[in-house]
Structure formats: C-alpha cells, structure tokens
Subunit: 204 residues, 2 copies
C-alpha cells in the first residue's frame, strides 16, 4: 500500500490497494478453483458445498456458474466450439479479477477443451487449482437431474458434452475427485486439505 | 445460510451463501459505485483514492477500470458505438457479480451513453450509485496526462469522447463532483458521507 494520500489541492498521488493488501485483510490468499467435468458430474454441487465450508471459516469466496454467468455476462453466447471458447475466456478473465480482489473464486463449468483451460491457467499464474470432477458417463447420465442427457440422446439438444460434443480430460489436474464414489463432504475435505497444505487458507 | 450440510453419502443438499451472509461477514453492504465523465476528468484517480479510504476502514472493495478490463475481459472490443455498448454491458454484469459477492465495486469508465448507464443501473437495483465526475472539457484537455486529447485534435485517434464522439451528461446522478474545483480528498469525503448516510458502510 502506498503512502498516505496527501491532503492538498493539487496532488494526484494515490494509494493503490494491492492483492497482497487484500489477502492480508482477508487472512487467506486469493485463488481460482477451477472445476471441470461432464454435465451432472457434480461440479456445481461440490463448488457450493466447498464455498459454504470456506465461508464458515471466514473466507471470502464466490462461485461463478451457469446460473450467474450464462444468464448474465455470457448470455450472448451459445454452445458452438467458438462460443464455448469465448465463454471460458471470459470466465478466466473474471476469475482473474476476483482472485486479484483477494477472493477464493470457484468456477463450475464443463470447460470441455484442454486448450481453453490452459489459457485460463496462464491468465492466473498464482493459485490456479484445476479440480477434475471425475464421474463415469453412465453415472452422470443416470443422475441427469434436468433431463438433459435424455434430450440429447433424443437429438433435441445439439452439441451436448458427453453425447454429441467432446470432453477432453485433464492430464495433470491439481486435484481429481470421483463423485461416483465419494460423498460431497469427502470431496470438500480433499480440497480443503489441499488449500491448507498450500497455505492458501489457514489450518482450522 | 441454509442448514448444516448433512454428513451422509447420498444427500446433495447444499448450503448456499447469500449476498446478505457476505454483507454480514464484511460489516458493510455490497454496492456499485459507477463513475462516469470525460477522459481526464479524474474518474480513476478518485475511484482509487476512494478505494484506499474504504480499505483503511476494513471494507472489501475492487476497482474495475481500463487497466484491468480493456486489456483483459474486453480486449476484443474497440471504440465504435456498438463496442462501447458491449463494453459497458459486460462491466455492468461483472459489477453485479462483485456486488453480489458483498463487495463495494467501483467502476471508472467514460461510459458516455445514458442508455448504457441505465442498463447497468437496472442490472444492479440495490445500491447503484452513479457518480458524475464533472469537469470542464477545457480543464480535462489541459490535464491530458497521456496526450490523448492532443492526438484526437490532430485526428490521430478516432471517436474520442469530448472531441469526436459524444458524452451524454447524467440527468439524475446520485452524486456529482467537480474535480476542477474540489481536491481528491474532498471528492472522496463527499462519497464516503453518502455511503454512511445510506447505511452502506458504518460511520467511522
């Protein structure tokens, strides 16, 4: 943080609040926790449960997901490969702003392309944590809470990841969680432990 | 905040952290402080000085300005009327996310069109504070720290607000500050008083 603002009429000096200042105030580091996986793999569920746990510990967090992004910032984008790329580009940029604000931001999007996820990582060189929400296609398809797999199988939805559009698995994710075998709490605890071990949050 | 997460293997219930929860944790409300005015009117300077003051009071804040938006999220946009509209649309959407995260977000962009600012206001019905950074064109042009007015006068920059592109003054801004007559500190104090009087932040 720069020097005190001078109380005169002419100075245009300014105090700049840095990421480090904000992290000090918050008592934890800013970070991007990037969930990726098939539709219905549990990305959003785990992200919100993790946020809840972090919030209880007094951390500043925010979840970016389809609800607040696809109906807002990215409502002009569809599901073509080009639009998916721009969707993820913008999410990577917004995540960067939140991390710079000292917040632990959780993104919960299919983000099917490896190259797009790598771009998001490059934008966020500090504390980018890719979480592969691994789950067999059969299990995801059985869950199908919104009936989207069924519609995709009937051809009523085009370019649906896992059915008619590709999903490229992460090769070196920081964390992989199998939501077919683990409970939500177990998934959350794995990620919490990672954050503690990497001094992103304090041990509770 | 919802009930405790059930520690069983099957529940997909989740605690949802709300804006109100975050505001309670932060000790102040989320808000959008929307600076608008001519190039070199002092938007960014006042925004950063205000952020510094708020930070000293323990508030969670963030400034969106040309430096972090035009080179990032909106680097695909130019200065045509359509691109300016999309620029402001995206900033309004990102500001909404930050306010929802319980943060006092300050946006420092020319935002020359009344209709675009109104859209940003509609997106943010709670605590949208339009700050008109009023300053005579002659004064702005004299400051011209980056020599942009000079270039615009020579025709080297097209569609430059105040010279070759229009600026539509706010009709009913929450706050108007004349940076030609007031010091930076005086501008900051006016805005701080507004925030205190409207219970967005606590009186110090």
């Amino acid at each position: 943080m720069a020097e005190e603002i001078k109380a005169t009429n002419i100075t245009w000096h300014q105090g700049i609040v840095t990421r480090e200042d904000r992290e000090r105030l918050n008592g934890h580091q800013g970070a991007v926790i990037w969930f990726t996986g098939l539709p219905s793999s549990g990305k959003s569920t785990v992200a919100h449960a993790l946020e809840y746990e972090l919030f209880k510990r007094g951390c500043r967090t925010y979840v970016l997901d389809g609800d607040n992004i696809r109906h807002g910032l990215n409502k002009d984008l569809g599901f073509s490969p080009e639009d998916r790329e721009e969707n993820i580009r913008r999410i990577g940029e917004v995540a960067k702003l939140f991390a710079d604000a000292g917040i632990i931001v959780l993104t919960a999007f299919i983000s099917p392309y490896r190259a797009d996820r790598e771009k998001a990582r490059k934008l966020n060189p500090k504390n980018f944590i890719e979480v592969y929400v691994k789950c067999d296609l059969a299990v995801c398809e059985q869950r199908d809470p919104k009936g989207l797999y069924k519609k995709a199988r009937r051809g009523e939805i085009q370019e649906f990841t896992g059915v008619s559009a590709p999903y490229e698995e992460p090769e070196n994710p920081e964390i992989a969680i199998d939501t077919g075998g683990l409970s939500v709490d177990e998934c959350v605890n794995l990620i919490i432990r990672y954050l503690e071990d990497h001094d992103i949050i304090k041990k509770s």
